[in-house]
């Protein structure tokens, strides 16, 4: 099984949804691993072999019930200020890139694919997370985690739209439209995240997006005041957290999120079907 969660913007909820699906599969006995080809973050985690990966993937590995390894996030970019970024490749710092000396995208993509292939070998399911928005047309040639992985490995994808700021239908449709035609067919479904209120009010809008894009709506996730690890500095969620330690508190939060999703009619079966393709 394989699936890629793409966001319509940063902070749309990709990291959490990826963790949620990892947890969902793991609870049903599927051997699952998270994957994010490339991550831009200063929050990193040290694996047991002493490799460095984004904190989001470590958290997702916890959700999957496995030990984090560097293959889950082969490329980590750590902004160092002044336009300088440290590239961590397969867990080890490899070089600094700057505007004048950018990253070798072809090489990075090939390393990402190798890491992905290794996970596919070892696990039944690989649940992937995209990075930022896949519709940054000014950066299309440099994209690895979204369009890059779809192109190289034909991974079916699901769009996550955040409704909290409004404009979610525009974001879903616009993102779909701006994904290059060759990859657009891989966009199989979408979901609406962080909704407050009665979801039936969204019905006509969802139907319209399904009709014009051909993507299936998997569901509407209610706004959950739960705390998850922060990947970047933009989101500032605090939310509830309780339990004997941080790990079990996160797992409890994921379980209640899955419960909420199931109660609200989230279509996990359709998601499974997309991942099985």
């Amino acid at each position: 099984m394989k699936v890629l969660f793409l966001g319509t913007a940063s902070g749309a909820g990709k990291t959490t949804v990826t963790a949620m699906y990892c947890r969902y599969l793991a609870r049903r006995g599927v051997r699952v691993a998270p994957f994010k080809a490339s991550n831009l973050s200063l929050n990193s985690y040290a694996t047991s072999e002493g490799g460095e990966i984004g904190i989001g993937q470590a958290f997702q590995a916890l959700a999957a019930g496995i030990v984090p390894v560097t293959d889950m996030n082969p490329i980590l970019l750590k902004p160092g200020g002044g336009g300088r970024m440290q590239v961590v490749l397969n867990g080890k710092p490899c070089s600094d890139v700057t505007e004048g000396r950018p990253m070798d995208i072809a090489k990075a993509t090939s390393e990402a694919c190798k890491a992905y292939d290794r996970l596919r070998e070892r696990f039944d399911a690989v649940v992937c997370e995209g990075s930022g928005s896949p519709a940054e047309i000014n950066l299309r040639d440099r994209d690895i985690a979204n369009i890059g992985m779809m192109r190289e490995r034909n991974i079916p994808a699901v769009l996550v739209g955040d409704i909290e700021r409004g404009g979610v239908f525009a974001a879903l449709y616009g993102t779909w439209k701006l994904v290059p035609e060759e990859q657009r067919g891989l966009l199989k479904g979408f979901m609406i995240n962080r909704f407050r209120g009665d979801p039936t009010i969204l019905g006509s809008g969802i139907a319209r997006i399904e009709e014009i894009t051909g993507m299936k709506c998997l569901g509407v996730l209610p706004y959950a005041d739960l705390r998850f690890p922060e990947e970047d500095s933009l989101s500032d969620s605090r939310g509830k957290m309780s339990g004997k330690d941080v790990s079990s508190a996160f797992l409890d939060n994921l379980d209640s999120l899955i419960g909420e999703a199931e109660r609200s009619g989230f279509d996990f079966e359709a998601l499974d079907a997309i991942a099985e393709e």
Binding site: G7, T8, A9, S10, G11, G132, S133, A135, E136, I137, N138, L139, E164, R165, G166, G167, F169, A170, A171, L172, Y173, G174, T175, K177, L178, G197, I201, L202, G203, S204, G205, I206, R208, L234, D236, S237, R238
Partner: protein, 602 residues
């Protein structure tokens, strides 16, 4: 009428004066107005585009043209002065005056041009774009007004006629150089009370409470649409340019037909639109494309430009994407606007997520972050002093605070209960007498001994609860009525100035020493509560920190009486920042193209 004629005669003798800086009321309408005809030679013109009849106190109908700007336009003054002098004032009877008025109107009256700013999301930067455009047009000599048909916000302000409008429209009016802000600029204001219910304020007065469904089914199609039409017409009859602001996204296709804040308002005003997208969270091109293409064809043609806003880093990196977007949509990108580093009051709870500290000064002011916190912009002027303001919603965050503010709230009773349950009330009580504590509006009501809501007006169901007991005061909500008025006066203890405004339901029986003496016709009234030895302060006034006198007075109680930094007048400070904001936009936007879209010429 004779007395007005006499005044006009004096005005004609004196000649053109332009903006009269020597007048204590200047500028009564807008910065740059011509004050030559303080008394209008055409009064009462009875032209319904410029004024209306209102009932006087004695029951007579009188002509009210207090919102008319026509006679304060430079070109009108020049023409009218010349015409009157040509005929000789003595020869200008009613008939000749009416003729001059007719000619002047024929020559100079034009219906204003509307332009609408839409946002791809909440927080896209619509409000600041409108503020920037108001300031740019004002600087270019256009008499400009902001307009937002419907605003959901708990930050409101009081106009000179005692109406309530959203704080942000008042700020935009300031950007436009206007002094006569009124409800026309925000005819519908929704103030969320919790549980999906909002108080709906129409044309400055509370109409009632609506939930989402009743708002869309009962209010929007009838009174809502009418209010939008009436007020946009009002502004277009008086101003050169009306910069309209949309609400949320215009592409919410599930509620498109009942959305009066976006494309329907544009249609009513026959306005062309520009779409603002916030680049900060990524996905800006997708949001822009999706928004335009999801708007039904009949309305899509109104969108004449796109603004990519709030770009951090190199704006040139966005350029190739912007060009591709232009090609796909056939709509020009008017500019890629860098993140503007300005300090202006912000509006939504959206930009207020999470707890945050503002400022890095040495005096730590903890503000209770109520779930229904309102008018949190009251705290903005504190940033001019040596403070760090923390919005706190957990008891431990009050530890080590040098001062505490209990701000306003849309629901005093439920927020007081919230504060008691989570331990903040106990924490603050334990700090009483050790550091200065001030309650503003709802926070002031909480500081009393009892709060009684026998009809469930504030809390939803009848209740009576104990306050914090810092004051002996008792607050009661008897009737669904709101006190809305501006205030000015002095701090009793120091004689310093204070200004502000009241917006509240409920009345308080004050049993404490008063804090302020306010001017209220025909004399003065006492307001607020004070226990100086316990460092407890309470007032209904919002905006109390705007004057330096009161800021300094309050902060002087901070331990050790720490000296505070030199600071400027808050309104002046806001004005400087509005200019900076306008500079950023003017620099980034294709202004020729923008002026073409607006279609206003001078």
């Amino acid at each position: 009428m004779d007395c007005i004629r006499k005044k006009v005669e004096e005005e004609v003798k004196r000649g053109t004066v332009g903006p009269d800086q020597s007048c204590p009321y200047h500028p009564s309408h807008f910065i740059g107005q011509d004050c030559t005809f303080c008394f209008c030679p055409f009064y009462p013109c009875e032209d319904e585009k410029l004024g209306k009849f209102i009932g006087s106190k004695r029951g007579k109908q009188v002509w009210d043209c207090s919102d008319c700007l026509f006679i304060h336009r430079k070109e009108v003054v020049g023409f009218v002065m010349e015409e009157i002098r040509r005929s000789g004032f003595g020869e200008c009877g009613d008939e000749r005056m009416a003729e001059i008025f007719f000619d002047a109107k024929e020559r100079f009256w034009r219906r204003g041009r509307p332009v609408m700013v839409l946002g791809a999301t909440s927080d896209a930067g619509k409000s600041v774009t409108v503020a920037a455009m108001c300031r740019i047009f004002h600087r270019r000599g256009f008499i400009t007004a902001p307009f937002k048909s419907q605003n959901m916000s708990l930050n409101s302000k009081v106009t000179r006629t005692g109406s309530e409008i959203a704080m942000i429209q008042a700020l935009q009016a300031q950007a436009a150089g206007l002094k006569n802000t009124d409800y026309h600029m925000n005819p519908i204001l929704m103030k969320p009370k919790g549980d999906m219910v909002s108080q709906v304020v129409v044309e400055g007065k509370p109409l009632g409470d609506y939930d989402v469904r009743s708002y869309y089914s009962d209010f929007v199609p009838g009174p809502g649409r009418d209010a939008v039409r009436r007020n946009i017409d009002f502004l277009l009859d008086r101003y050169d340019i009306v910069v309209m602001e949309g609400a949320g996204s215009p592409a919410e296709i599930n509620i498109y037909d009942s959305d009066i804040a976006n494309m329907q308002a544009a249609e009513i005003a026959d306005a062309d639109c520009v779409l603002v997208v916030n680049a900060e969270w990524g996905g800006a091109f997708a949001y822009a494309l999706g928004t335009v293409e999801l708007i039904p064809e009949k309305d899509r043609g109104r969108i004449k430009g796109i603004i990519i806003n709030n770009v951090r880093g190199d704006v040139e990196k966005m350029r190739p994407g912007a060009e591709e977007l232009e090609k796909m949509l056939g709509i020009p990108v008017l500019g890629i606007v860098p993140h503007a580093d300005v300090k202006l009051p912000s509006e939504d709870s959206e930009s207020f997520r999470g707890s945050r500290t503002v400022g890095a000064g040495s005096v730590r002011v903890a503000v209770v972050k109520f779930p229904r916190i309102s008018n949190f912009t009251d705290m903005d002027p504190l940033f001019l002093e040596d403070t760090a303001v923390v919005f706190a919603d957990r008891p431990e965050e009050f530890e080590g605070a040098d001062a505490i503010v209990l701000p306003g709230t849309k629901n005093t009773i439920s927020d007081l209960e919230w504060m008691k349950e989570n331990g903040i009330a106990a924490k603050i009580s334990s700090m009483k007498g050790k550091i200065p504590i001030i309650g503003l509006c709802g926070g002031y009501q909480m500081m009393g001994s009892k709060l009684s809501d026998p009809n469930g007006i504030e809390g939803g169901s009848p209740s009576e609860i104990d306050g914090l007991g810092f004051f002996e005061n008792v607050t009661r909500w008897e009737v669904y009525d709101k006190c809305v008025r501006q205030a000015r006066g002095e701090i009793i203890a120091t004689g310093g100035d204070v200004t502000g405004y009241e917006i509240h339901m409920g009345e308080t029986d004050v049993r404490e020493k008063p804090l302020f003496s306010l001017e209220r016709f025909p004399g003065t009234v006492e307001e607020g509560s004070l226990r100086e030895e316990e460092m407890l302060f309470g007032t209904y006034l919002h905006g109390v920190f705007d004057t330096q006198d009161f800021r300094r007075y309050f902060l002087s109680f901070v331990k050790g009486g720490r000296p505070v930094a030199e600071s400027v007048d808050y309104q002046e400070y806001v004005d400087i920042n509005l200019d900076k904001l306008a500079d950023v936009f003017e620099e980034a936007l294709d202004m020729d193209r923008m002026m073409e879209i607006v279609g206003a010429v001078r």
